[in-house]
């Protein structure tokens, strides 16, 4: 297999401005060069913080995703698909390992996957017969790509398609030790302003001078330019870049696995001007503020956030539509499985805006999953519950490989798996819990047969609480049945507590 070095690959990658100028030529340029292989390519496209509950594809009243809906007409649409965690670290690690957060232990903000799982991740298990590339704009997710770098032929730096001239990360200088220098020098989430050592801070702060032009509203972005920490970007440039990367990969001699974790529609919600004020007002049910809500946002503020979020989702949908069309026209989809999903959703209710929350309601966990198989011409809908832990087993099944028995996920229905309404799907939040200790402060959601049990454990003043909802009859999760549906509550509570005890016991026994 011919492998390219990162330097070689970047040479192939034309400048973004050039790619913009010639984007219309891509299909005609790329098609004659396409590689023909008996092994399918795999593209995983993760849209950060995309909640299924705000997508028209899943019945939302605002027409937020016409392009995804169009694409879904020849793909498999999963209607009860859930994130395994409610923010980036646990949610993404579950995609990459096929395990729940209580197994992979990336439960903290900035957390990493436990070292013993290296070699049991997506990239290692797909194997070196594939050209494996990965790119993320999210610093928390980049931790994992650094952990798995040994099994990546290509790991694009997270600033690759960003606007500002932020200097390259210090840790990029340490190619043989990518993770620890990242924590030592680059990960600003340790402390946003004062980063690491006394004088190194100068380098970063001086580079922030040019950010001011992006932080204000512009004609193109009335709410300001999208950004992640101090990295500003335009989604059209990011998606053009992704498109160019895939077109280049398709010209290589080996099949490829391309993993993209793109930041939008993650907050701050900053759509382009074409998407501002495109939606009429809709009635938003007022929901009581939850005792564990951190934001304590008023309903009027939440309605405003929702409007901006929906506009941003529509913006992302437009870019995804262009990307998928370009790949289709270039003939790449003829031999490619395309997974479009999210790492977690977004909560805009009960006083909470965002996803750094202990709350586990559906908007922050229910996410889209659309899977296209080569040659698929008709839509298939799957209504049985599925989880992001199922992505890796499904990819392995597609490639004819077995999943390690330790994996929590199952093969998705439609790709060798079976519909199983009785299956229990877990989502876990434990960002304040040590990754090395049993879970004692955690929120756990368990979905089974249209019912959802939420367990809040160890929060001061809210130590040991349960809520039960019927998602079929009460989609807004307003009617807590825990004390009324005693049978369901008892059965599900026992199962949840047993699963938690097993996970905690496994941790103790290694």
């Amino acid at each position: 297999m011919s492998k390219l070095s990162r330097r070689d690959f970047l040479k192939l990658l034309p400048g973004v401005s050039t790619s913009l100028a010639f984007s219309s030529l891509y299909p005609s340029l790329a098609s004659p060069l396409l590689r023909v292989s008996d092994k399918p390519n795999i593209i995983v496209l993760i849209l950060d913080a995309m909640s299924a509950r705000n997508l028209s594809l899943y019945g939302y009243r605002r027409e937020t995703v016409p392009h995804l809906s169009r694409f879904a007409e020849r793909a498999t649409v999963y209607h009860a698909h859930y994130a395994a965690g409610n923010f980036t670290s646990p949610g993404t690690a579950s995609i990459l390992t096929g395990m729940y957060p209580w197994s992979h232990r990336a439960i903290n903000i900035k957390g990493k996957i436990k070292s013993s799982l290296l070699g049991k991740d997506l990239f290692a298990l797909v194997g070196p017969e594939y050209f494996r590339m990965a790119f993320t704009q999210n610093m928390l997710a980049d931790v994992f790509l650094r952990q798995f770098r040994a099994n990546l032929e290509m790991h694009l730096p997270l600033t690759t398609f960003h606007l500002n001239d932020k200097p390259s990360l210090v840790s990029e200088k340490f190619q043989s030790d990518p993770l620890i220098p990242y924590y030592a020098f680059d990960n600003p989430i340790v402390s946003y302003s004062v980063l690491s050592t006394l004088l190194l801070n100068y380098r970063n702060v001086l580079s922030w001078k040019d950010l001011k032009q992006y932080s204000i509203s512009s004609d193109e972005h009335p709410y300001g330019t999208p950004f992640n920490t101090y990295n500003y970007f335009h989604n059209d440039i990011v998606y053009e870049g992704v498109q160019q990367v895939v077109l280049n990969l398709a010209q290589q001699s080996s099949p490829f696995l391309a993993y993209f974790h793109l930041f939008s529609p993650h907050e701050p919600y900053m759509p382009r001007k074409e998407f501002v004020d495109i939606f009429p007002d809709i009635d938003i049910p007022g929901k009581p503020e939850h005792p564990l809500s951190r934001g304590k946002e008023k309903l009027t503020a939440l309605i405003g956030y929702r409007k901006h979020y929906d506009e941003f989702v529509a913006n992302v949908d437009s870019e995804v539509g262009l990307l998928v069309d370009a790949l289709d026209q270039a003939g790449i989809l003829q031999n490619t499985y395309l997974f479009i999903l999210a790492d977690h959703g977004e909560l805009l209710e009960r006083g909470e805006q965002g996803h750094i929350t202990p709350l586990m309601y559906d908007p922050v966990l229910h996410i889209p999953l659309i899977v296209y198989a080569p040659g698929q011409e008709t839509r298939r809908d799957v209504f049985s519950p599925t989880s992001n832990v199922d992505i890796l087993p499904t990819i392995l099944r597609i490639l004819g490989k077995d999943s390690p028995p330790s994996m929590d996920g199952k093969v998705l229905p439609g790709f060798g798996g079976t519909d199983d309404d009785e299956r229990s799907i877990f989502s876990i939040e434990a960002k304040r819990n040590s990754a090395f200790l049993p879970l004692t402060q955690t929120s756990i959601s368990m979905i089974k047969d249209h019912k959802k049990l939420i367990h809040y454990l160890g929060y001061p003043g809210y130590e040991d609480s349960f809520e039960l909802y019927d998602l079929q009859d009460d989609i807004e999760e307003l009617d807590d049945l825990f004390t009324r549906d005693v049978l369901s509550a008892s059965i599900m509570k026992d199962e949840l507590l047993e699963a938690l005890a097993t996970a905690n016991h496994s941790l103790r026994t290694g």
């Binding site: 232990r105 030592a184 340790v190 302003s193 006394l198 580079s207």
Partner: protein, 181 residues
């Protein structure tokens, strides 16, 4: 010729106390920040990984110490000897102490502000800090009490080198091992 060039540099016995002041300010600050981050890091990094993070930070701060010392050495080389070389301990230590204190003050002042705001002030603050440090450094050799104080302080700082130097060397070796082997 070579000997003449060397004569423009301060004596080794004068360099050590100045380096001690620089190392104390830079490396103690670095270690202090690290201690503040330990509770968070210990949530998801093993002890070995935390030690590696510490090694990278200490090794980098060691480089910063050498950089600041190097700047003072270059200034000593360029300026007439009576300006800096002959009073290297007093003026060097005063300059380093003042400049580094102002930088620390800057980071603390803007710690909770967004980086964009911080970047608004950093250049003017740096120029002001350099001017103030130069002024105080110049005055320190003229005022006997200040001069004696700088001598005393820099001499006392040397004791910290018995901790900071081995720490720096071990950290540097750890970083090299992690990246070479």
């Amino acid at each position: 010729m070579g000997q003449n060039m060397l004569n423009r540099l301060p004596l080794f016995k004068d360099i050590v106390p100045v380096y001690a002041v620089i190392a104390f300010m830079i490396q103690v600050w670095t270690i202090g920040v690290l201690f503040g981050q330990l509770p968070s890091l210990s949530n998801f990094l093993s002890i070995n990984e935390i030690l590696a993070v510490v090694a990278y930070r200490i090794a980098e701060s060691f480089m910063e110490c050498l950089l600041v010392l190097g700047i003072l050495m270059v200034m000593s080389f360029i300026l007439p000897p009576r300006f800096l070389r002959n009073v290297f301990v007093v003026r060097g230590a005063a300059f380093a102490m003042c400049l580094l204190s102002l930088i620390i003050l800057f980071w603390k002042r803007f710690e909770s502000d967004p980086g964009v705001l911080m970047s608004d002030y950093i250049q003017i603050w740096t120029v002001a800090a350099l001017l103030l440090a130069s002024l105080i450094s110049y005055a320190s050799a003229k005022i006997r009490a200040v001069s004696d104080f700088m001598d005393w302080v820099s001499d006392r700082m040397i004791v910290f080198l018995y901790i900071l130097m081995p720490l720096s060397v071990v950290s540097l070796i750890m970083v090299l091992i992690r990246n070479v082997i």
